[in-house]
Symmetry: none
Subunit: 222 residues, 4 copies
Amino acid sequence: MEGKADVAGKVKDLNGKTRASLLHMAGEVFAEGGFHAATVRDICRRARVNAASINYHFGSKGELYAAVLEYSYAQTLPEFPGALKDRSGPPGERLSLFIRGFMQSVLDEGRPAWYGKLMAREMVEPTSALDRIVDKAIRPRHKFLRELVVELLGYRPADEELSRMAFSIIGQCLFYYHARQVIARLNPSVRYDTRGIGRAAAHIALFSLSALKAISRGKKGG
Amino acid sequence: MEGKADVAGKVKDLNGKTRASLLHMAGEVFAEGGFHAATVRDICRRARVNAASINYHFGSKGELYAAVLEYSYAQTLPEFPGALKDRSGPPGERLSLFIRGFMQSVLDEGRPAWYGKLMAREMVEPTSALDRIVDKAIRPRHKFLRELVVELLGYRPADEELSRMAFSIIGQCLFYYHARQVIARLNPSVRYDTRGIGRAAAHIALFSLSALKAISRGKKGG
Amino acid sequence: MEGKADVAGKVKDLNGKTRASLLHMAGEVFAEGGFHAATVRDICRRARVNAASINYHFGSKGELYAAVLEYSYAQTLPEFPGALKDRSGPPGERLSLFIRGFMQSVLDEGRPAWYGKLMAREMVEPTSALDRIVDKAIRPRHKFLRELVVELLGYRPADEELSRMAFSIIGQCLFYYHARQVIARLNPSVRYDTRGIGRAAAHIALFSLSALKAISRGKKGG
Amino acid sequence: MEGKADVAGKVKDLNGKTRASLLHMAGEVFAEGGFHAATVRDICRRARVNAASINYHFGSKGELYAAVLEYSYAQTLPEFPGALKDRSGPPGERLSLFIRGFMQSVLDEGRPAWYGKLMAREMVEPTSALDRIVDKAIRPRHKFLRELVVELLGYRPADEELSRMAFSIIGQCLFYYHARQVIARLNPSVRYDTRGIGRAAAHIALFSLSALKAISRGKKGG
DNA sequence: AATGAATGAGCCTTCATTCAT
DNA sequence: GATGAATGAAGGCTCATTCAT
């Protein structure tokens, strides 16, 4: 019985091995250098499968990329709103949590660390998948940030101004990812381990909350 | 001897329509799609010269890219510190001016508008030219921003914290360049003409100055 | 023994929806675009079976093709000489009937209409199956035509000349199949429905009978 | 002087060598197996040039094919109407000449023997170049044949019937090309050397002229 | 100083086939 | 009896570079 179950399990693993391996390796490679710089040969070599496997399992390089992104949503979306919908804490703390979580998803060098990186890459070097990424991953976060900003300001600014607030916050975060090579040269003391990410997130939270507070005060006072 | 070398240098730099034309077209093409997406054939076609010209004049695609960057420094560096070294105005105004100037150099769609774009691109998609770019173009601006921040805070924070202040400001600016496709989808009302750039720069200046003022007050008050 | 073999043969031929479905779909696909343009994946997809089925049931794409042809002979041969051996009618009418029948088998767009098309295709784009096709399908028709020509002429010309007479008749017929795309451009009024086929066949019959009659008269008169 | 001229000539030859060699080899290969069966690698190997040459000189396999066809028109068109416009001889003789010329251009195994074969192939296995082929090469010949038929009949039949007369003649000719493998099996005594072509052409001329004469007589007599 | 011609490496994809179950 | 998974060979094409003049 157990033996049979094992065999069945193995079968399923073995059958799905190529596809899964491909999916993960592709995620890594795409996250490293973007869609265009990645080559199917490299992905297949690293996954130790035949170069034609991508075509068999996904149809084309582009569809593999789409599959990687879909997989990425499936991994991150369920957790995202759950942790953040909670409106129990004070809004400042929730913003800090969001910033920290976002930076970790983008910067964490852990193993399957490409969930956030793909999104960040797609911003800078968009492919035909951008529309879907915006709808599935970016817009929800943007909306979330906007609502938080309204709470923090104590009033709702004009639509465009409100968006710009969110851009200011997210722009600070992404800079640590996009410009990491430059940062390493400008200030080598900046680290990207968990503690380093924490310190960067703390700074951005402080900077942004200070700005929002001051703007709110100025608006109300003025 | 020295004179001759100078002459030769000048000759090499200025003479030869082919070389100059190549340099400008390459700048445009590199700024449009980055180093990897650019093809020597496309550059040569647009410059109306033979496809072998790049290798003849510059040795390789990579060396052409380096030459484009060097040319860009030669054009922008002389003006940059001159306009900004001026300490006559109040620091807040000087920060606004810097932000506006920086965003214009990165976002302006005018014809020879690739000086800033190349720098912005290199941050995200670094090539072997990055070290030189950092030294010649980025570090000066970074230092300039740091000093401005010190002035605005009224005290000098720890080195790393000070750098992060500069990162927060520049990160907001670059977001409008790097994420322009995403911004266009999230909020189509955001424009990239001169007025639109001005409004974005104004927001970033307000956001940043508010943050610095509030932090300064908190520090002093705490 | 013999009975068993028969049963096995029957089983192999008739049983197994997969095998039969494959055979018919392959016939259609091969008739549409020829052997090389056909892909096993397409055939299997249309037959709604696994892509490996062809190799499982037939060994290879080439053997499938051979099987399709064999099946085609088995369908057409029994009827062919039966209907035409009948020497009751006048030879001119029998030629008209042959031409019409031949053109219908080649041109009719009805569903299982690939019996004649495969033969016509194989003439132009021969595969290794050609020898067998010639022996099983083409030579009998060629012989039939030759005998009819002898009857019509009233004498038996030299072997080569007799063959050429048959070639002249069959060449007119095949032109409507092979050059159908060109015909559509040269004279769009030419149709390929049943009536159109009938008119083409009538013309070919008239043209050929006129030729044979005139030649016969010339020969006898000279 | 002479030496210089020689050098210049050589230069031009050498420069154009790859392109010309490619053009001729491609013509041969395309004529042998058609557009799809031909591979750029094979063409380049036979022309002893690099596999990328086709792309450099012609852009793509398809454009190479188009260039081969254009070259073929340039070779055959000038001679075609010249020899046949001559209305001095009796129409029967002119038809014999046309048939013989057409068959030679299609069947001759001489060196650059693919001019007519490409046209014949395109009829059976059309590509996107068919429209151009029809306009440039086929329609002129079709018209020529129609006019000759009118002369031979002594009256002008209905448009469609007239076209069918031309089809009957040209169909007999093409059969010797398209079905040559089958002919070789049915009647190995049929040869494809100059004499053999002459005998085939003579038979087709006799067959067709006999038919036209008989039809004309029937029409007038009826 | 400059160029047209040619090249080799590498890209993504398609295909008939084989493997393991 | 049948199939999903996987493979190796080959296809057309693009690219930066080099050669010969």
